[in-house]
């Protein structure tokens, strides 16, 4: 009998994921963050989006490390749902090479299940692969803010068309931002798009329009794919 087969744990796909807040569920395959993968956040709301993605897992008990994003707003993170007692910020050394960044991220992955980071501008492909292997081995989730460079990201999320509500000319105060978040990537056969409040009036993420629009129009009579059915059910349920 093959030892590897004998000892391999029979985990379901669901056990190899980390939860996300409800409004983000329709954007992700299986409605959760896949462990051992990298997720890229880009566009206008990349910082808020990355924090929102990490919030569900931290609520469930995971620790969040923020590597090389020194400007992260702690209060905003709290409002997006991150329990601050499980938030740690790590700054790389000043004379930063991409290898130093990779070593640091590798060490961080030993203790943290969710890591938010920026990828250095000139990252070697070999170094990127090393980081990726580490993410996979530790079954963590790496969330990148901005351009992921040569890092192969399974899911790419882009926030666009931001509209701020609440301020007029000289009165009111910011109440929330509507953005369209699009997710695409290897694990998502058709890009998905959701209108979100990011942040909403209480600082948390919320759904604006509960209907998911596949970007490509469906042909009439085309049966729903199982993925879409599940999303339709998930959104109908809440």
């Amino acid at each position: 009998m093959d030892l590897a087969a004998a000892v391999a744990p029979t985990t379901l796909a669901r056990q190899r994921t980390l939860p996300v807040p409800d409004p983000l569920i329709p954007l992700l395959p299986d409605g959760a963050l896949p462990r051992g993968r990298a997720v890229a956040c880009g566009g206008v709301a990349s910082t808020s989006l990355s924090i929102a993605l990490a919030a569900g897992a931290t609520v469930a008990g995971a620790w969040l490390a923020v590597v090389d994003v020194p400007w992260l707003g702690v209060e905003a993170a709290g409002e997006l749902g991150v329990p601050l007692e499980r938030l740690v910020r790590v700054d790389p050394p000043a004379e930063r090479g991409d290898a130093a960044w990779a070593d640091l991220v590798a060490a961080v992955l030993d203790g943290f299940e969710v890591v938010i980071t920026r990828v250095p501008r000139r990252l070697g492909a070999g170094v990127a692969r090393r980081v990726q292997a580490r993410v996979q081995a530790r079954e963590a989730v790496l969330i990148t803010v901005g351009d992921p460079g040569p890092l192969a990201t399974d899911i790419r999320m882009v926030a666009s068309t931001p509209v701020w509500e609440g301020v007029e000319h000289g009165w009111g105060h910011l109440r929330g931002r509507r953005v369209a978040v699009t997710s695409s990537g290897r694990r998502i056969p058709r890009p998905r798009r959701v209108e979100l409040w990011l942040p909403g009036p209480d600082g948390a993420v919320a759904t604006v329009d509960p209907v998911v629009h596949p970007i490509k129009q469906q042909h009439a009579g085309d049966p729903l794919t199982s993925d879409q059915q599940r999303i339709a059910i998930a959104t109908a349920a809440g």
């Binding site: 009998m1 030892l3 004998a6 000892v7 744990p9 206008v44 990349s46 910082t47 808020s48 924090i51 008990g61 995971a62 620790w63 400007w71 992260l72 707003g73 702690v74 209060e75 905003a76 993170a77 409002e79 997006l80 601050l84 007692e85 499980r86 938030l87 740690v88 910020r89 790590v90 700054d91 790389p92 050394p93 070593d103 640091l104 060490a107 961080v108 030993d110 203790g111 943290f112 299940e113 931001p162 509209v163 701020w164 609440g166 301020v167 007029e168 000319h169 000289g170 009165w171 009111g172 105060h173 910011l174 109440r175 929330g176 931002r177 942040p199 909403g200 009036p201 209480d202 600082g203």
Partner: protein, 525 residues
Amino acid sequence: MWCPDWPIVAAGIRAEVPAMVLHANRVVARSPAAADAGVAVGQRRRTAQQACPDAELLVHDHDRDARAFERVVRAVGRFAPRLEVVEPGWLCLGARGPSRYFGGDDALARQLLDAVTAAGDVAASRAGIGVGIADGRFASAVAAWRGVRSPLVVAPGTSPAFLAPLPVAWLGRVGGVDPELVGLFARLGLARLGELAGLSDGELLARFGPPGRHAHRLARGDDERPPGGAEPPPERCSQQVFDDPVGQLDPLVFTAKHLADQLVAALSAEGRVCTRLVVIAETDHGERSERAWYRAAGMSAPAMVERVRWQLDSWMASGDVSAGVVLVRLVPDEVRGDDGDQLRLWGGPSAADERAARAVARLSGMVGDRAVLVPTWRGGRLPADRYGWVPASTTDLTDADDTAQRLRPRLDGAGAVGPWPGALPAPSPAVVPATGQPAELADADGQPVRVSGRGELSAAPATLTIAERPPQAVTGWAGPWPLDEGWWEPRRHRRLARFQVVTADGAAHLVLVEHGTWWVVASYG
């Protein structure tokens, strides 16, 4: 038998060397030299270093402790075959049989102490080894702790009297009772175990639930079961037979994880937890390692795996193993109803917390204390003031009280509390740089917008220029919200006005003007 400073012995520290073993910034063990200097178990690293600045700092390594403890376990195994290891440095055995053989409890205790001292290389580190004999696990552990210099034997039947005058803190220290519950007993005026034992079982159950009843039983000196008792093993045991012998530790531990998961899932489906686990491993040549492990609070799957690792690691390192392992079996020897007094009930640290705390310690060593930071609440009316960052190495990340105090001080704290009237409402900016960026807010004619002392604007803002970037048209703005802070103290006095500005590219910024200069202090990224 209990050696409170076992980690020091395992690390091979000599008595005259001051040293302490740290976990999550707290001292878990110290050498006699450090103890003389005033280092105590449970102290913070900072305090301990103040007391003893030249002490050697060691990281807590359970595997090292367990490997070193194996020698002691073997030596004690000659007295009593049925012994159980609670943790490295602490083991239990049923004394009734062996003490008859050796001629009484006192003789047995002395024999044990000699054997342990000889086997454990303990003499060099002069660490105390306690041997205590009493009724039940809890009373004997207390006796062992108090019997560090000379063995302490509590006569049969007198354990309740022995425990009665002792403080309730023992419940937390050796009984595995949640420290918060123990603290609550003390606050309620139940300072001594005897006072707790005097209450009725029903009262404690009604008020504190199963953990209260458990604490009450311990205080009365009854244990749930005698150590090594002949509890018929449940039908359920979890095992793996390898067709190809396995010579390495890691695949075995991985298999054990799988087995432990199955076992815990099966037991918890029946609402039970395992308190005493027997781990059996056999090699191809018939060598066998069998050991019982005990944990009063019940074992989770990771706790089982840890014990399997300790046992197999020291067994394989002992040189008795001449072939690969063909069998690993986990037998739940004692199970009890899971009445909910698991670690998490009162919010104790989880495995993820411990792992993160260890990683933080490593990272602090890699990039320096000042580069590994955790947020702390400071209070204020500007985003950068409200939360600050402090080095993670100065805090205890797994201590819930400490963390709560750091993130939201209670109302009795000094200065940094209160509702902060005049702070901006949610949502808060997600991008808060340490220092603001210079900016320029101009009106439609290109003239800088000025704010008068009474909060009136010279003109409506039309463009926002941040640092050297091209100007952006302003599509919405709100403010000014004037702020006059610290006027009672000239050096801290700040007078400024805040604005929220939305620009045509969809970005929103928190902009302030102070002494006629504009700054972007945060962005809603």
